[in-house]
């Protein structure tokens, strides 16, 4: 069915010298200038990341992130004292949204790390050894890929019981096969190349070949996949929390804030609006960056 079944030509391997690094940097800047949307995406990600890291320092009311109650301030519209307004317990929504950014990035990083930890070795082994090992391992992978990832996450978290950790585990369980399959196709392509053949003929141990030669050469493709996955993971996490299957009160998670806000939003518009804008911005930023990187690395669309 795929018309482009030819393997994509591999990017040139650049030596890890200072000249090589300077070349890479120059090329990256050129990439950002051509792919403006990717540059916008990257800038938004950097800003959000800074907000996430220094969140406790810039939040106007750090105590409001979790359990504080100030009923005298409940459901105030946005003002200079509370830029995003307050919720039904009088907590500052800007503070909670900032802590939500922190939490979302933590969720994204943990889920992706976990999926990579399972998926990458799985794909490397499957692709490097080939034959029946590969066949069995890929069929297992296909079972996971054959139904919508969010449904898999929902079913797993439903059966394990709703909590933040179970939610992250369930999302990772639905994401690892994507990394495994990608890593496998990379391993299959790279193992045919000269330097791997040479290492083999010198009797280098297969595990050394896998982790020293194949893995570093497939980094760029993995990075694109991470960037595409990150937005999706954050969106899924917010959706599961909205359904009550993820983070539990009083955690300042975006989806959960919106879910609580549903009871009040028709008369207090600001309650659900701002956390949602943050989800949208984050997911869009990662999609812009991922799209740009994919175009850039795919020679088919590179010159179009």
């Amino acid at each position: 069915m795929n018309s482009n079944s030819l393997p994509a030509p591999l990017p040139p391997v650049i030596e890890e010298t200072s000249a090589g690094r300077a070349y890479k940097l120059k090329e990256f800047i050129l990439f950002l200038r051509v792919h403006k949307l990717a540059a916008i995406g990257l800038s938004i990600i950097v800003i959000l990341l800074i907000i996430a890291v220094i969140g406790p320092l810039i939040s106007p009311y750090p105590d409001d992130a979790y359990k504080a109650v100030h009923l005298e301030n409940k459901l105030l519209p946005p003002s200079w004292a509370h830029l995003f307004g307050t919720d039904e317990l009088g907590r500052d929504l800007l503070t909670r949204t900032i802590y939500g950014t922190r939490l979302s990035f933590q969720i994204g990083i943990s889920v992706i790390l976990l999926s990579i930890l399972i998926g990458i070795p799985y794909g490397l082994i499957s692709g490097y050894f080939g034959g029946w090992v590969d066949n069995v391992m890929m069929r297992v992978c296909e079972v996971f890929l054959s139904f919508p990832s969010m449904l898999l996450s929902i079913s797993i978290v439903a059966l394990l019981g709703p909590s933040l950790n179970n939610m992250m585990l369930s999302i990772a369980l639905s994401w690892w096969p994507w990394f495994a399959r990608l890593m496998r196709s990379e391993a299959v392509a790279i193992k045919e190349r000269g330097f791997v053949e040479a290492a083999k003929s010198m009797g280098v141990h297969p595990l050394v070949i896998i982790f020293r030669h194949i893995w570093p050469n497939s980094l760029s493709v993995i990075i694109v996949q991470i960037s595409m996955a990150f937005g999706s993971v954050i969106l899924t996490a917010a959706s599961l929390s909205f359904l009550g299957l993820g983070a539990q009160p009083p955690t300042p998670e975006w989806g959960l804030i919106i879910s609580t806000g549903r009871a009040y939003f028709l008369t207090n518009w600001w309650y659900v609006t701002f956390p949602g804008v943050f989800i949208l911005l984050t997911v869009m930023a990662f999609n812009f960056l991922g799209d740009g990187l994919r175009d850039y690395l795919d020679p088919k669309t590179r010159n179009s």
């Binding site: 054959s146 139904f147 919508p148 079913s155 439903a158 394990l160 019981g161 359904l243 028709l266 179009s304």
Partner: protein, 341 residues
């Protein structure tokens, strides 16, 4: 073609077996006692033990799995722990309402998405292209549940144009009731000539369908755009230009025909995504469908329903993917299915 279909169906069976093993295992290793929930909180130990035998939970696991699989193929999909009703019958009663929502959303996505994608491809790299691409990424990035709430804020609260939720207002269903023929309200009311009901149901459908449309819309624009760019660069389109065929005919007749294949494939994939979106959209719009039934079951830890829904969505997903591949191959003689199967 027949060989291809048989091969894919066999692969589908393999996938279903895998899915059933996963859900069955997870459902059984979870530390919760279905028997205790079956009889309710005030039951004594004897009643729980009796329920365990009634539900077959005293048998060894492999035997339970075989019973479960047999049931799947003979139409016995288990009994809901929450409502004590057969799961399959409940699922089927909620299905039409969700399908109506999904189909309406997909229709909106195709009707708006195809022209936008074509314009974007023709005016590549212009400001209109940049705008459409941003719109398309926005469509796939926007949190569905939030979009629903914002639409409610704007169109219900501010403009009072559309109702807040549910499939039809109570007044209408009492004053102009319809018989349940297919479960699709729009179809049923049209067939029965009940235009008051039709109008009310259509008004109720607008906001949920728009919410449902966002993701497929983003995807359709992207697919049409990228395949149109490929197609328009090909020689046979340039030859048409040399023959003096007008631009709109080149683009919309000759070009678009060749760009529809990949779009149909991705729409098929989206259908499964839409099935999971119903969980969120139906919660926001109090839409009595599959997704709402599923999320209530999930929150109540009703594992037979959770397993059945997973199974139903997987079956739908496999069948739709197969259907899309066959249809695309029938439309495009260049594709030979058996070679790649």
């Amino acid at each position: 073609m027949i060989r291809f279909i048989i091969k894919r169906l066999l692969l589908g069976l393999f996938v279903l077996a895998g899915v059933s093993v996963i859900t069955f295992t997870v459902a059984r290793v979870v530390p919760s006692d279905p028997a205790a929930r079956w009889v309710g909180p005030r039951a004594n130990a004897e009643q729980i033990a009796a329920a365990r035998i009634e539900l077959g939970l005293d048998k060894p696991l492999p035997q339970q799995y075989i019973t479960y699989m047999k049931g799947l193929f003979t139409g016995d999909w288990g009994t809901s722990i929450r409502t004590h009703q057969p799961v399959l019958r409940e699922l089927l009663s909620f299905l039409p309402s969700s399908l109506e929502l999904i189909l309406a959303g997909m229709l909106i996505a195709v009707v708006i998405g195809i022209p936008l994608g074509v314009i974007s491809a023709v005016k590549k790299d212009s400001w209109i292209d940049q705008l459409t691409r941003t719109f398309s990424v926005g469509g796939v990035s926007i949190p569905t549940f939030w979009l629903g709430l914002i639409l409610q804020l704007v169109f219900f609260r501010q403009l009072s144009l559309f109702p807040l939720g549910e499939r039809v207002s109570t007044n209408t269903s009492l004053l102009y009731p319809i018989d349940n023929w297919t479960g699709f309200y729009l179809l049923d009311s049209l067939l029965q000539g009940n235009f008051d009901f039709f109008k009310d149901a259509a008004l109720h459908l607008v906001l949920p369908a728009l919410t449902m449309a966002a993701y497929p819309l983003g995807l359709v624009i992207r697919m049409i755009r990228s395949s149109m760019i490929d197609v328009l660069g090909e020689e046979h389109i340039r030859v048409l230009k040399a023959y003096g065929i007008p631009a709109w005919r080149r683009v919309f007749v000759y070009g678009l025909k060749n760009a529809l294949g990949p779009t149909a494939t991705s729409l098929g994939l989206t259908f499964a995504y839409a099935l999971t979106s119903t969980f969120l959209i139906e919660a926001v719009f109090s839409w009595p469908g599959l997704g709402m039934y599923a999320s209530q079951a999930i929150l109540a830890n009703d594992y037979p329903v959770t397993m059945a829904i997973t199974f139903l969505v997987t079956v739908t997903y496999i069948l739709i993917n197969l259907l899309v591949d066959v249809v695309v191959a029938m439309l495009d003689p260049r594709i030979k299915l058996y070679q790649n199967a």
